[in-house]
Symmetry: D2
Amino acid sequence: MMGAHPRRVGLLTGGGDCPGLNAVIRAVVKASTYHYGIEVYGIRDGFDGLMNDNMDLLTADDVSGILHRGGTILGSSNRANPFRVPVEVDGEKRYEDQSDQVVAVARARRLEAIIVVGGDGSLTIGAQLIECGLPVIGVPKTIDNDLDSTDVTFGFDSARAVATDAVDRLHSTAESHQRIMVVEVMGRYAGWIALEAGMAGGGDVILIPEIPFDLEKVATAIEKRGQSGRRFSIVVVAEGATPRGGQIFVDRRIEDSPEAIRLGGIGRWVAHELEERLQWESRVTVLGHLQRGGSPTSFDRILGTRFGVEAARLAAEKLHGRMVSLRGTEVTSVPLADAVAKPRRVDPSSAIVSAARAVGTCFGD
Amino acid sequence: MMGAHPRRVGLLTGGGDCPGLNAVIRAVVKASTYHYGIEVYGIRDGFDGLMNDNMDLLTADDVSGILHRGGTILGSSNRANPFRVPVEVDGEKRYEDQSDQVVAVARARRLEAIIVVGGDGSLTIGAQLIECGLPVIGVPKTIDNDLDSTDVTFGFDSARAVATDAVDRLHSTAESHQRIMVVEVMGRYAGWIALEAGMAGGGDVILIPEIPFDLEKVATAIEKRGQSGRRFSIVVVAEGATPRGGQIFVDRRIEDSPEAIRLGGIGRWVAHELEERLQWESRVTVLGHLQRGGSPTSFDRILGTRFGVEAARLAAEKLHGRMVSLRGTEVTSVPLADAVAKPRRVDPSSAIVSAARAVGTCFGD
Amino acid sequence: MMGAHPRRVGLLTGGGDCPGLNAVIRAVVKASTYHYGIEVYGIRDGFDGLMNDNMDLLTADDVSGILHRGGTILGSSNRANPFRVPVEVDGEKRYEDQSDQVVAVARARRLEAIIVVGGDGSLTIGAQLIECGLPVIGVPKTIDNDLDSTDVTFGFDSARAVATDAVDRLHSTAESHQRIMVVEVMGRYAGWIALEAGMAGGGDVILIPEIPFDLEKVATAIEKRGQSGRRFSIVVVAEGATPRGGQIFVDRRIEDSPEAIRLGGIGRWVAHELEERLQWESRVTVLGHLQRGGSPTSFDRILGTRFGVEAARLAAEKLHGRMVSLRGTEVTSVPLADAVAKPRRVDPSSAIVSAARAVGTCFGD
Amino acid sequence: MMGAHPRRVGLLTGGGDCPGLNAVIRAVVKASTYHYGIEVYGIRDGFDGLMNDNMDLLTADDVSGILHRGGTILGSSNRANPFRVPVEVDGEKRYEDQSDQVVAVARARRLEAIIVVGGDGSLTIGAQLIECGLPVIGVPKTIDNDLDSTDVTFGFDSARAVATDAVDRLHSTAESHQRIMVVEVMGRYAGWIALEAGMAGGGDVILIPEIPFDLEKVATAIEKRGQSGRRFSIVVVAEGATPRGGQIFVDRRIEDSPEAIRLGGIGRWVAHELEERLQWESRVTVLGHLQRGGSPTSFDRILGTRFGVEAARLAAEKLHGRMVSLRGTEVTSVPLADAVAKPRRVDPSSAIVSAARAVGTCFGD
């Protein structure tokens, strides 16, 4: 008999780290507790904790003082997928669908719904769980900002700020010498961080996955600057940027591949090639996970808070199967199933790319 | 015979300082020069320079390296208004309309149009100049983000970041003592900075002009926190916040009035009153112009750049009498005359205020 | 029989907040636990917790992840003094010496020694406790850096950084207008923060307690700048700065006095007076506790760590009655009794003040 | 006849970039101009400008507003050495001593002395020039802080701050996953940045050139942390760190060698090896020139200012052949010839290394 018990929802954070996750957690817990009298169970390490029933009640006290902190107090897991659990059967490795177990755990815990804060991967799993009869509410989380069903996702603003700060620093030191400064930023399939940090930092060259580049043209642009008395150039490269023809497509999965070690990443490769061609010194910075760390920006904390409050409302009003989203200045929601379907990549013919070109940025195309 | 001469536009920045102004200037100059072959004349100190023909040609070199800098390389002026110039006639002070002179200067300089980057005041003057036959294009600039015809204005994100950083710092030190920490932020008529910095920093109390506060209720909220073991509270006050009944409405114009010296500002007053009521120590921080200074955030640099590029396009295509604007993720434009008419204040019943309440914020109402 | 028990020391943080306290706590606990097998008892809220036996064992886990955090996980207390405890006897208020109780608590807890991290006040109490037979080891903590027996104290570098950042921000916005920007920083008796933040930020005028100022001279200096085309001036004022003759000596205790409310602080007063004299607009920023908050700088974290490790060593080797200290690049220790005796104020004839004058700084004398 | 002319000194900045250079330039110019009535000639691009007589008079206006800026307004040059100028004679490359030309230029310009702001290389050239009869005054500049004749050099504090910020960011994101985070910082021969940023950031493993590491021991330390429930470890690696036996000594000159491209740097190598051994995910950040860029810290600005003022004094008082230096809190000077002779590396048995070990840091030895 439901009435006898307080209402309950589960909350998990999945996938890569993203500044603003704690803002979402805090908002879901405070809004649910104060406002709707609903208990929130914090599930540890993403779907891993859901499969293994690893969760605890989160009180307002548990989430106090976390708003400004990076990371996620719930932990996360990149790999765990209840629909594809690696098992060993007679010494050989197979994959099993253990979604039924997840549903069982949720039932046993009397969780009305699971709020899944995650990216493409986690939200897709969330959408599948709905079909298994487990109510899910989605909160989009992608540092790359590559989701079409929301104007922007939290985490992106913070990552862009870190990358912009890097470009600023390189600017101030580049001016003292004749040099090419290359900074490699995140973005395997979408170049938003490189594009916007490049624009914000006044990078001279911006290389992104959506616009395959011709190194010859990059070299020419840098040479032109040199002739006009600018002794340095700053090149912002998305980790997934690829030269025309994509000879080194391998970089796309830089971290998984033995090649990666050989090659040292697209940034290093670009710096090396330009040094060869132009006989200018080059220097490389690889930001890596700096972009996922540190205290979230005000924007990301507010967006995370608003997303969390809206997710709590959707749960309270049993509006399951939806994902929160920002449109203009308003927080709204969209069907989860549609949301995950549409990636958002940089459109080479978009106004923002044109704006970058208008102020003189070279994209190497 | 126009053809013989390069096309020309004037550019001025008016009103208070705002991070991102240099991004606009840089973008207008680079886009006009590279892209449209239009010369940009930089007008010094706002309308003052327009009245006194104080302007110079700006080249791409002039605007290189300014993107990340606060302030405006053109200078500004708070007071200058060609329609209301103070003059002395037989020893007594009067005001004269010298707009005809402005038009004459623009003609003499062969300026096709003037791009006015400014707030409410400057844009209103801009709109009036249009009626005098001087083509004007507007770029909105208000650190308070109180303009209805754009989702957001550059400068606000930077100001909010400074205010949020202040709340963060107070948090980390407040926890060590039993204390009330009051921080006074900008916002005489619109409370956006206080509201959003308060949300981003996790302020316990947020006091804004749009929601007159009852000090008794603020004291009660702080006391409750104390009873639940939280030994400190952080109060974010907009400089224009007023208690119910508005006894100290004077604070609204804190800087012009002798009262201001007596009273020392609303922040100090609130701290003093709470200390009296609760017998807790209180401390006050008044951010003042810190919020207008420093390097703009990535967001403000990009928005400033996009606004500048769009303003250059409007000028090139002779789309005069319009103001650039952000809607969702797209830069567009609106009629200047309408734009200045609609202020944008915090709606006490809006979703964002509800979100702040949902996570436990007290507005003193 | 000592041998049967692990050795134990107590640790408390007293007085005002100071970035780097957590670094000291972490280092004392880790060094004592890992290196010497000595248990550390964390005493809550300074001497208050020592009087009321409010303390817990601190493990390495308890202090993990606190190094970068401002504040002190032990809490502090500005007032508590075991030699002067306010009590009420037949309705009237008196002060009692309850130091014997403190000694009793320490004995009962088998604390070999108490490590006192504090400023002038707390260390003086520490020195008195030694005379009562309670072994004490001192770690100096003063954000004002006004202790002669160490080259520098942790916290000062962080406070100076906050104040310098403020001066930088004001610079970038001041340049856009004709203005006097006044920033009030900490320092009631010693002007180190104002002096060094003023030097680091390129402040035009620096007013400190050690050099009584003549407002006329300040006004003249600002006017001179104006004539030489510099339209703005930045004035850095220590909260304890006083005009010649000291008419408003009251400001020295700005926060305790009703006068404070009337006057709004020395910063506001200076801004007001200069505005009157020069007819330039002025703006005021009062940093207040921002200077005590936020994440400590690298310097303060390292110094705090080194001080903590040295304090643990002194405790382990029973070198009681000493205070850790930095001399050049080496951490050493001095007799606690001597240490507290010698304040360190800015010497108006010192090389660093001359250096500030050499680059054109006005001290108003 | 000297008297007829104002006195003159030359000023150049040599070698790699370093935050604080502009503070020195500003102080030398302001102190010389205001205080001693000596003209300062700014020499472009280090010794290159001295050989080619590329210099201009610097006024107080020229150096206004540069204090907070990174880089050097004079530009620099890594290679130029008047004692070893590459020339081509009958198609083959040789090196020529052109120091006589430098002396001639200085005479022609009537430069009493040259103030050389530089590191090991530039100061050694300075010392040699003295023997050629050209008075030189030295200002030490090394971001690595590897000079024995001064307690610290400007630039180091800023570089350490950037590296510490990186470690902080990695901390906040590492906690969310089981991971090894590797950050590669500057320091080819001296490990100060790695050591102190590691201490300040609470890095778990610190690898520096002065302490050859055993990867097996590093892996064991990380594994131990894992067993005690800490799911992540942060490894701070100096670019010049070398494994026992030094198989990959090549990394020492990572940027000059084709090997560098193959190997991708010591940081990437360590991450790869640890991933192999422990089967934990690893991530790499390579800070590179971020550490030389950005606005100098307050400490570096003040030290640069004090060094500049002292150098101006030495020049004014004709105390040639000396290098300014910091001892404790006092700025003093030492004979230039001795100064360059003594490098300062991390002593593995020093108190600061012991302090790092005492709080649990693993050095892999």
